[in-house]
């Protein structure tokens, strides 16, 4: 056990820091500028780092990926784009795609020449994703897709989508799903931004009416879609592990500063014993998240997959983030709810979860999403109970019979 970084990692961190100082744009005004920044990161070897070299990546160690993301968080660097493409779609094609699919799509994902979204969740298939009803009808050389998707990140700017659709309604629900690549620029695909409680629209609804998918864009075989969605190994795992905590830490220091300036009952809030207790608790929790990230990185560096252990990590940090933001709101009072017009010392000067310039109000509202997306806390607890603790499964009626 040695929690010091190796000399090699320290040197790499320094190199990244220097590069960011020299290359980082101060402001990103539109998608084209963000794509240009994305491209610059890619060309410097700081994007898609975990992808195998033969497909345009660096074959980098998880620690190197974590260091790049961490340095970007530390510098307040703008986020790159096409994160689902780089993080999920690309690795899925690498593992399950045909040679023709790999040649056609992979490089343009890394360069953000083609933007990707993931068409998984539906209005009635959220936590119970396998209940999805979007249908892909086999017409020989192509499929005809009908259905509705929701919570599609980046749907408004996507050129392509990774689609889960039902190809056989007569078999048990997990077995009748297939995985496709679908062209988003066609008359049968209608993308509508979904306005969230933040007032912004990171997500979309996607309506597919007789949309067309060529047979060559089926990934794997018919009926294998559920397995593909479950077993996809991201190459960017670990990537956000440290960066997330570094962002929290810079927010915490701003919050401390606010607690020095703001007063309650004639004294700085920071002198209030109750608030000090809450601040001490949150810093302890934040650091425990960081220690956990170091454990995760240790596993990844050894080539081990955290498996269901990832559910413990996600459950822990997403629930932490809600408590953190609730404390921030408590200290900041009505300043914490401003979306505009806050005095400079009570503004949040770090990137938001999606890479835009943030406010405390936005960060607070966004914290409600973390315990829902990518498997709600309740789903994570089921996974932990069943797969790590080996607790008996619930009696479920949906593992038998068809979907209709």
């Amino acid at each position: 056990m040695d929690l010091n970084y190796t000399a090699e990692d320290v040197a790499f961190r320094k190199q990244v820091r220097t590069w960011l100082e020299q290359n980082m744009p101060r402001h990103i005004r539109n998608l084209d500028e963000r794509k240009a920044w994305h491209r610059r990161l890619y060309e410097a070897g700081y994007l898609g780092m975990g992808w195998p070299k033969e497909y345009g990546g660096q074959g980098a160690r998880p620690m190197e990926q974590a260091i790049v993301a961490d340095e970007m968080a530390r510098a307040g660097a703008p986020a790159p784009t096409n994160s689902l493409g780089v993080g999920i779609v690309g690795p899925t094609i690498v593992v399950h795609g045909s040679e023709a699919q790999k040649r056609r799509y992979l490089r343009k994902i890394l360069t953000a020449e083609e933007m990707w979204c993931q068409l998984y969740s539906e209005p009635n298939a959220g936590s119970d994703l396998a209940a999805l009803r979007t249908a892909a009808e086999d017409r020989g050389d192509h499929f005809v897709v009908n259905g509705q998707k929701i919570w599609t990140s980046g749907g408004a700017v996507a050129d392509w989508g990774l689609l889960l659709a039902r190809t056989d309604p007569s078999v048990p629900k997990h077995k009748g799903i297939s995985c496709f690549l679908i062209d988003m620029h066609q008359p049968g695909v209608d993308v509508r931004p979904l306005k969230q409680i933040t007032g912004s629209s990171e997500f979309c609804e996607v309506f597919m009416t007789n949309a067309r998918v060529e047979r060559e864009n089926l990934i794997g075989r018919l009926g294998e879609g559920w397995g593909i969605a479950q077993t996809t190994l991201g190459y960017e795992r670990g990537g956000r592990a440290l960066a997330r905590i570094t962002t929290y830490a810079s927010q915490y220091k701003m919050l401390m500063d606010a607690a020095r300036r703001l007063k309650r009952n004639g004294r700085p809030i920071l002198d209030d014993a109750v608030t000090r207790q809450k601040l001490g608790r949150i810093w302890a929790e934040l650091e425990v998240e960081r220690y956990g990230a170091l454990r995760t990185l240790t596993m990844l560096e050894r080539g081990e997959h955290p498996g269901a252990g990832g559910s413990l990590t996600k459950l822990s940090y997403s629930e932490f983030e809600k408590r953190f933001m609730e404390l921030a709101e408590e200290i900041l009072g009505p300043y914490g709810q401003l979306t505009d017009g806050a005095p400079p010392e009570f503004r949040l000067e770090v990137d938001t979860a999606v890479g835009d310039h943030g406010t405390w109000a936005y960060a607070f509202l966004w914290s409600r999403a973390g315990t829902i997306y990518a498997g709600s806390s309740e789903i994570q607890k089921n996974v932990i109970g069943e797969r790590i603790l080996g607790l008996p499964k619930e009696t479920r009626a949906d593992r038998v019979g068809g979907i209709r």
């Binding site: 056990m1 810093w283 302890a284 650091e287 240790t298 822990s316 089921n382 603790l389 619930e394």
Partner: protein, 374 residues
């Protein structure tokens, strides 16, 4: 960067666990609760032979020269077994205290004796205000001839009734100072303080002008603060390791129980109300593991954030262990509330350690001071 145990560390943990599983059964814990001295000399001798009693001391003092990560591994197992005996008092409080502040002669006198099991040490770090800030010390030491006279009232001195030497702070004209005192010396009165934890013993220690020689002074007069801060951090992390072990035991017992207990015609582990609680317990136990071993490493390595890490560890684990052990009683239902069932041994072990060496509130204040100190 490597946050995993070495092969040697895994071997150490396995051998400690195997020895305690065999010799420190719940029946043993219960038997020792009825024993006048409260611990087994046979097991103590075994622990000396296995090298546990000198684990963190230098090799020239009969120790194994290992760090706090290894010590935490042993302590976690002791918490897991609710080991009844003066291990923590002797090795962590007395032993590390002498190692941190003692003169070469004091180390030579006491550390080999502690390591071999011939002597047992402890430390008297608390007085009647229960303030863990050493500056609250009211006990006094006045010069008398070549030596000193100690007067004061210490509370919650662990295993003082079987100790050969107790490390204690007292005020001198030069400031806060540390002394070694024989708890059987004339003028010392020990009175048992009986708590709910069956696996620990405490005494009130009254000192009425107790005469000690000049070489009872540890370090220089007025120089105790640094040693006490360092010792309290190690004690806080060591106690957290024991709480982690107790919490893991409670989790393991709960998971095993909900896999066999049936109600409404089903195993209760299949109910989400139970399963989700067990998942939260595991999350807390794993977070405690991170906090304990990070802090143990940081203290050993002298990392810049070691003081903060110790406070983060104790504040986090104090509450998380309480929750996990309490939830274990809850998922067991009625049987978890019976004296006969063993769960309360570990629940109480964790509870006893919660306020010691600084409770969560004490350490949270330390964390915030770390940010606001000039």
């Amino acid at each position: 960067m490597n946050f995993s145990f070495s092969e040697d560390q895994v071997l150490l943990r396995n051998s400690v666990r195997a020895a305690l599983d065999e010799q420190c059964t719940p029946a043993h814990v219960r038997a020792m609760a009825e024993d006048p001295r409260g611990y087994s000399e046979a097991l103590w001798g075994e622990m000396a032979k296995l090298g546990w009693l000198g684990l963190p001391f230098a090799e020239e003092q009969g120790g194994a020269g290992l760090g706090l990560v290894e010590l935490a591994l042993v302590l976690e197992e002791m918490g897991r077994a609710a080991y009844p005996g003066p291990y923590f008092a002797s090795v962590v409080l007395g032993g590390l205290g002498i190692q941190l502040g003692g003169s070469p002669a004091q180390k030579e006198k006491w550390l080999p004796a502690i390591a071999s099991g011939q002597a047992r040490a402890s430390a008297a770090l608390l007085e009647d205000t229960l303030d863990w800030d050493p500056t609250s010390t009211a006990a006094t030491a006045t010069r008398a001839g070549d030596g000193w006279r100690l007067t004061g009232l210490k509370r919650f001195v662990p295993w003082a009734h079987v100790a050969d030497v107790v490390l204690m702070p007292a005020r001198t004209p030069e400031g806060l100072s540390l002394f070694l005192v024989d708890p059987r010396a004339a003028g010392v009165t020990l009175t048992p303080m009986v708590g709910i934890d069956l696996s620990n013993r405490w005494s009130e220690m009254r000192l009425d002008g107790v005469a000690v020689p000049a070489d009872a002074l540890v370090g220089r007069a007025g120089d105790a603060q640094g040693v006490l801060d360092a010792l309290l951090r190690r004690a806080a992390v060591g106690a957290s390791a024991e709480m982690l072990g107790a919490a893991r035991r409670c989790l393991d017992m709960s998971v095993a129980y909900v896999k066999v207990r049936e109600q409404f015609g089903q195993l209760i582990g299949s109910f989400q109300a139970i399963r989700h609680r067990c998942a939260e317990m595991l999350m807390e136990v794993e977070n405690c593991h991170s906090a304990v071993y990070y802090a143990a490493w940081a203290l050993t390595a002298g990392a810049g954030d070691a003081p903060a890490a110790a406070s983060i560890c104790k504040s986090y684990v104090s509450e998380a262990a309480r929750k996990v052990c309490g939830d274990a009683i809850q998922v067991h239902g009625g049987i978890g509330f019976t004296w006969e069932y063993d769960l309360h041994l570990y629940f109480k072990r964790a509870k006893a350690l919660e306020p010691l060496y600084g409770d969560a509130a004490h350490h949270r204040e330390q964390i915030v001071r770390g940010f606001t100190a000039p």
